[in-house]
């Protein structure tokens, strides 16, 4: 397909241009046997699913981001990894994804093709297939360049049952590495800050990491990916739902120097910055070292570390500062807003 032009309303009209876009570009990029059947739905053999677990996990998410492409990824890699991770942190092995595009007319075809290609690579890395989808084109102003929705199904092996309400006193809190990279990279990529910081998004699939964790500890109590709202929001959910307190050690929190620096300048708190390749696990203390060792053997977990513990309480997250002081890390009432001075 010639990729020199832009997406036009004709690409969404149902005619030849749409046929070319869907068949020659999207279907060809995502090519796999289920998609090639060319039906209006993916027909997934049940026997293969049943052999892998006892429950189906099903999730969906929509992706809207400015800019579409940023250091460390693009809206397409987010759309694949985000849905893969939503499945993985439920203990599921992610298998099949759907993909819906809403495209604003005027988007360069070349940009779209590049995003599709990185989606394919991300899907391959995560070991999932994009088996069905949908494409709509809207008039200029009807969307912000490109919106993507992905839904995914996966299978949960018997015995895996992590839940936000299962944290127990004595458990430890583990993260798989540097916090806030994605949020800081996006802020920086928007270009209104005139900051020169070398920060890349952490956008990555977490299913291999989760598999390694469950292999050594099937009894992981809580597991979530820390996306919008960051670590603080996930831990507040765990604490509230489990009716316990989570105590974090400030010195133990892995935050890169450029991310800390950007937060200092803007008056933001890295604990609330978004991540796209980070998970938070609450595990029994007895299994903590085994889980940590298993994580550190996988690239997505090289920098995994223990950041805190679960104590008796009524649903709060408390940060112990390096000085021995304490402060509450509450949920934000809204978006983080930079301070005046």
């Amino acid at each position: 397909m010639n990729l020199t032009g832009t997406i036009t309303l004709a690409h969404g009209s149902g005619g030849r241009a749409m046929h070319q876009l869907v068949d020659d570009l999207i279907r060809r990029t995502f090519s796999n046997p289920l998609l090639e059947e060319g039906e209006d739905q993916a027909r997934i053999p049940l026997a293969e699913l049943v052999a892998q677990g006892d429950r189906l996990a099903f999730t969906t998410d929509s992706y809207v981001i400015t800019p579409l492409e940023f250091p460390g990824g693009n809206i397409g890699t987010l759309a694949i990894n985000g849905t893969v991770n939503d499945l993985a942190v439920g203990g599921a092995k992610p298998l099949y994804l759907s993909c819906g595009f809403i495209i604003e007319e005027g988007l360069p075809l070349e940009t779209f093709a590049r995003i599709l290609q990185s989606m394919r690579l991300a899907a391959d890395e995560a070991g999932v297939q994009i088996v069905t989808g949908d494409t709509k084109v809207v008039q200029r102003g009807g969307a912000d360049k490109l919106f993507i929705n992905t839904a995914g199904v996966g299978v949960i092996p018997a015995g895996f049952n992590p839940s936000a309400g299962s944290a127990q006193v004595g458990d430890v809190v583990i993260v798989n590495g540097w916090l806030g990279d994605h949020g800081a990279a996006i802020l920086n990529a928007r270009g209104d800050l005139a900051l020169e910081a070398d920060i890349e998004s952490d956008c990555a699939p977490l299913n291999a990491l989760v598999e390694a964790m469950f292999a050594v500890c099937p009894d992981i109590h809580c597991l979530r990916d820390a996306t919008r709202g960051g670590l603080a929001t996930v831990l507040n959910e765990f604490a509230e739902r489990s009716n316990v307190d989570m105590v974090l050690k400030e010195e133990a929190l892995p935050i890169r120097t450029p991310v800390r620096g950007m937060c200092e300048i803007l008056g933001l708190d890295p604990l609330y910055l978004a991540n796209e390749g980070k998970l938070v696990a609450v595990v029994p203390a007895a299994a903590a070292q085994a889980v940590l060792a298993a994580m550190q053997r996988i690239p997505a977990g090289y920098h995994a570390c223990i950041i805190g513990e679960v104590v008796e309480g009524d649903g709060h997250v408390i940060l112990q500062t390096a000085f021995g002081g304490e402060r509450i890390v509450d949920m934000l009432p809204g978006e983080q807003l930079p301070r005046i001075c």
Partner: protein
Amino acid sequence: MKYMDEFRDPATAKKLVAEIHKLASTALSQREPLQIMEFCGGHTHTLFKYGIESMLPDNIEMVHGPGCPVCVLPMARVDDCVAIAEQPGVIFTTFGDAMRVPGTRKSLLQAKADGCDVRMVYSPMDALALARKNPEREVVFFALGFETTMPSTALTLLQAHREGLKNFSLFCNHITTPATMRAILTDPDLRLDGFLAPGHVSMVIGTHPYDFVTRDYHKPLVITGFEPLDMLQALWMLVKQFAEGRCEVENQYARIVPEAGNVAGLKAIAEVYETREHSEFRGLGNIGDAGIQIREAYAAYDAEKKFGLPFDFAQGAVGYDPEHLKCADVLRGVIKPWECPAFAKTCNPQNPLGALMVSPEGSCAAYYAYGKLAKRKETA
């Protein structure tokens, strides 16, 4: 991080805390608990962020002052911002934390959701760049803050003037620190013993504008920076003054604050601004000569004149705040946030009625979070 971690060293902090405890348990043990006001919201932020307040002795009580430009912004002023933003063709630009301050009708965030072109910028120069890029639009910058932000807005206005830009203006809401502090000091209900004064304000104005605090009101004052060790050292210096019976303006932040301030910054301020006869501060009412307006010579860049809004504050009007809110008493340190009947009930961070609950630097928002910690300790 260089130039930062040096001022966050836990071992030094612990030594300072130990020194403060020692002074408090010996020299101060015979007197009433000290009430020290950190005037600036930035300091309140540091106190909470690093958990400093939880490490202080019981007989030192921090009172969170009005030094947060968002906290003292009257509702009527937010209404004026919204009214300007609603004008056809206007791009209204503001610092982020002013977006959520409630007006009587709506906040700027709500105005944006309703279709106004409200944009968050990180510096007034960003607003100026928008004006250059959008010659057919009118770009207004919400000039807000104490002396810290005043030089940058003044220099931006002067730059617009040099370039002859016709589509840029400032909605000037700057306020001055010493005049606001004087208003607190003249309050008959005052219980404060001393002040921590904001270092970045003094970086502009120097140290002498605070001389009246010690001379006329006999309250010691230490100018300090925003790193945790700055604040701990300043607290130690202040407590030492009490212990030794001294009352002076001291400068903990000498590495940044020259005695005479920033001469170039002060020149730009003097060129562009003059004091207002009347200006309403949220919770504090009308404070004479504390507000700032743009001089007649630069009226072409004054959004008030450009848009001709009916500004009530010009007549010194007060009273937009709902009566049951005790923002004023909290701002002056007369009561603690939880003594306000609305605190954590009808007024909370999800639905802030008073501006002190809006900004994370506001004492009510800080206490809302901190109170949970205190409650947990109580029940432990």
